[in-house]
């Protein structure tokens, strides 16, 4: 009898242990305060259907919204006051002037709009009138799958890529590599650099006045802050506890941890990063129940110290931050009206 009991008890313990699942922790950072924000929808007419809006920028009352799964145009322009559709840019297609993807929108001091087509490996200066020819910069062949970009100055771009040899690369207006800087801040050894770069895929934001570059991992909870004027690392936040979790499957990084950050903005006073925290395990189990986007905006000072987090009333995939006005425009991909405006207090 005792033997039967022992066997059943051991089986029970075994089942209990194997049924326990690791839960990705979203608590690797502690913020002194959490402030709840309520958004206000900005209604877009029926003229434009956005499938997966992912990036948004506001410049001179023109709202630029980038849709990464579009059937026709990747970027749509709206009058921000009326939300009237003003036009569309970056037509999907394989022709030389068309796009196979877009990764981000950057607007320079002259108000010119730039984007990156990762699938064609090009940075493109978009013309607001469709009749004009866009200016295309073919990226150096030594770069592998450049997935984000920002402008260092008028003639130099900052790009991360999948070579994994360096954290970022500077390319000139012809797309040639000028120099590399920094390393992926991983403690993982014996992995191919390409696999590491895939796992550490990050979104970037550069503040040219301050010379500060922020990088936020999509597949983990790491935020890197670099001083590009001094060529120094200011701080790596979450380097150990928030490092992207992955398995190397046939030379590819398969994410197994969490969806971390999906957008970042380096302002004049603070750094803002949009955080999801959803585990891939939960997404795989219940893809239909999953809401795309993050409900937290993490705010750090320029030295990387946590200042506060904003808890949002909906899930956002991308944001535009106007620090001076204390205003944020977010994209809620789960809604038919994805453009949402938030107001936050300035201090």
């Amino acid at each position: 009898m005792k033997r039967i009991f022992a066997v059943v008890l051991l089986m029970g313990l075994g089942f209990t242990v194997t049924s326990c699942r690791t839960v990705a922790s979203a608590e690797v950072m502690v913020f002194p305060e959490t402030i709840s924000l309520q958004g206000k929808e900005k209604t877009i007419g029926d003229s434009v259907y956005l499938r997966y809006p992912f990036r948004v920028r506001l410049q001179d009352d023109v709202l630029y919204v980038m849709d990464i799964h579009t059937a026709a145009y990747y970027i749509h322009l709206f009058d921000y006051k009326t939300m009237q559709h003003k036009g569309s840019l970056a037509h999907r297609g394989e022709a030389p002037q068309e796009f196979l993807s877009t990764e981000n929108i950057r607007i320079d001091e002259q108000g010119d709009v730039w984007t990156l087509d990762a699938n064609k490996s090009k940075i493109v200066h978009l013309m607001k009138e469709e009749v004009e020819q866009s200016r295309q910069i073919n990226l150096d062949k030594d770069l592998i799958r450049t997935l984000d970009f920002d402008r260092l100055n008028d003639s130099v771009f900052i790009v991360p890529d999948y070579t994994g040899q360096h954290r970022i690369t500077f390319v000139n207006a012809q797309g040639d590599i000028l120099k590399h800087a920094f390393q992926i801040p991983t403690f993982t050894e014996k992995q191919s650099t390409v696999v590491l770069a895939q796992a550490w895929r990050s979104f970037i934001s550069y503040n040219p006045q301050l010379g500060i570059l922020g990088m936020a991992t999509q597949l983990g909870q790491v935020l890197e802050i670099y001083d590009l004027k001094q060529d120094t690392v200011i701080k790596i936040i979450g380097q150990e506890t928030g490092a992207p979790q992955f398995v190397n499957r046939g030379g590819y990084a398969v994410p197994t941890g969490i969806m971390g950050y999906s957008d970042i903005h380096v302002g004049q006073k603070y750094i803002y990063a949009l955080f999801w925290g959803s585990s891939f395990e939960a997404i795989r189990k219940r893809p239909d129940d999953h809401k795309e986007g993050g409900r937290f905006v993490h705010v750090f000072d320029l030295q990387g110290n946590p200042v506060r987090q904003y808890q949002l009333d909906r899930h956002l995939t991308g944001f535009h931050i106007d620090e001076e006005q204390g205003m944020m425009i977010g994209l809620d991909v789960n809604s038919n009206q994805p453009v949402v405006e938030y107001v936050f207090n300035l201090d």
Binding site: H69, R145, I283
Partner: protein, 70 residues
């Protein structure tokens, strides 16, 4: 003592049965979702794995953005 052991054994056995049943249901739900959305395989196939549903994660096997990778 024997009665106590019997009761405890029964409890553990019921626990195991419930655990197995729950796991079965979860796996069954998952396969229903997978089968129901077979078209959601987001063209990210390779010998190594698959990419599912269109979203914002870069599929390592192809050039599309997906919900998750296997």
């Amino acid at each position: 003592m024997k009665k106590y052991l019997m009761l405890l054994t029964c409890c553990v056995a019921i626990g195991i049965a419930m655990n197995v049943s729950l796991q079965f249901r979860i796996d069954s739900d998952k396969s229903e979702i997978t089968l129901g959305n077979i078209e959601a395989l987001a063209q990210g196939e390779s010998g190594s794995g698959n990419c599912w549903f269109r979203a914002s994660v870069d599929c390592p096997y192809s050039s599309i953005k997906v919900l998750y990778v296997e």
